[in-house]
Amino acid sequence: MAKKFMFVNRKAPYGSIYALEALEVVLITAAFEQEVSLAFLDDGVYQLKKGMMPKGIEMKNFGPSYRALPDYDIDKFYVERESMEARGLTPEDLLVEVEVLSAQELGQLMEAQDVILSF
């Protein structure tokens, strides 16, 4: 029976490697036929910002990779409302279609997981 894996993303992109690594891990988890969801809160919301251009810091643009995830049946993107709004972002600013949740709703969803991995 598949387990519910949630990937909790709380760090800004490019300042550290976590966003890039999370993208790797979710694909592998899906390949193991587990239930995969991604939560973005705190600075993790910035990971989904449209228009990344990391050429000037000589890093690879991994923004497009989020858009490819639904092709692998990974399409549960949850964004915590308060984190998003505190950063002046709206769902239109984000690379993928997300479900915006209150902190409480996200917390309840986390309770229902079998495994939570923090990035």
């Binding site: 409480q104 309840q108 309770e111």
Partner: protein
């Protein structure tokens, strides 16, 4: 769910995030996070608030390392690594708020 917090409330926002998001279970303060559970620390009120929602534990060896073992606020319980292991075992999942 067991919420594991390892950073000082002065240095990272994780205690705030747990207060906002966590819907129950228990919380364990380890490493630099233990400073939050000490008397006189202005962040201790956040631990008091969290303790209204769920039991809060703090790791004794990390308190002792920092010379703070005699300053633990009321309402939180000091545990050793054996207690840490028990807490993980007792909750069906855990989240390290890194």
């Amino acid at each position: 769910m067991l919420h594991i917090i390892n950073k000082s409330p002065f240095d990272r926002p994780t205690l705030d995030t747990v207060l906002r998001v966590a819907q129950g279970g228990a919380a364990l303060l380890i490493e630099d996070a233990v400073v939050a559970a000490t008397r006189g620390c202005i962040a201790a009120n956040k631990v008091v608030e969290l303790a209204k929602k769920m039991p809060v534990y703090v790791l004794g060896p990390d308190l002792e390392a920092r010379g703070l073992a005699d300053r633990v606020i009321e309402g939180v319980q000091v545990v050793g690594y054996d207690g840490f292991v028990n807490l993980v075992a007792e909750h069906r999942n855990c989240q390290s708020w890194l």
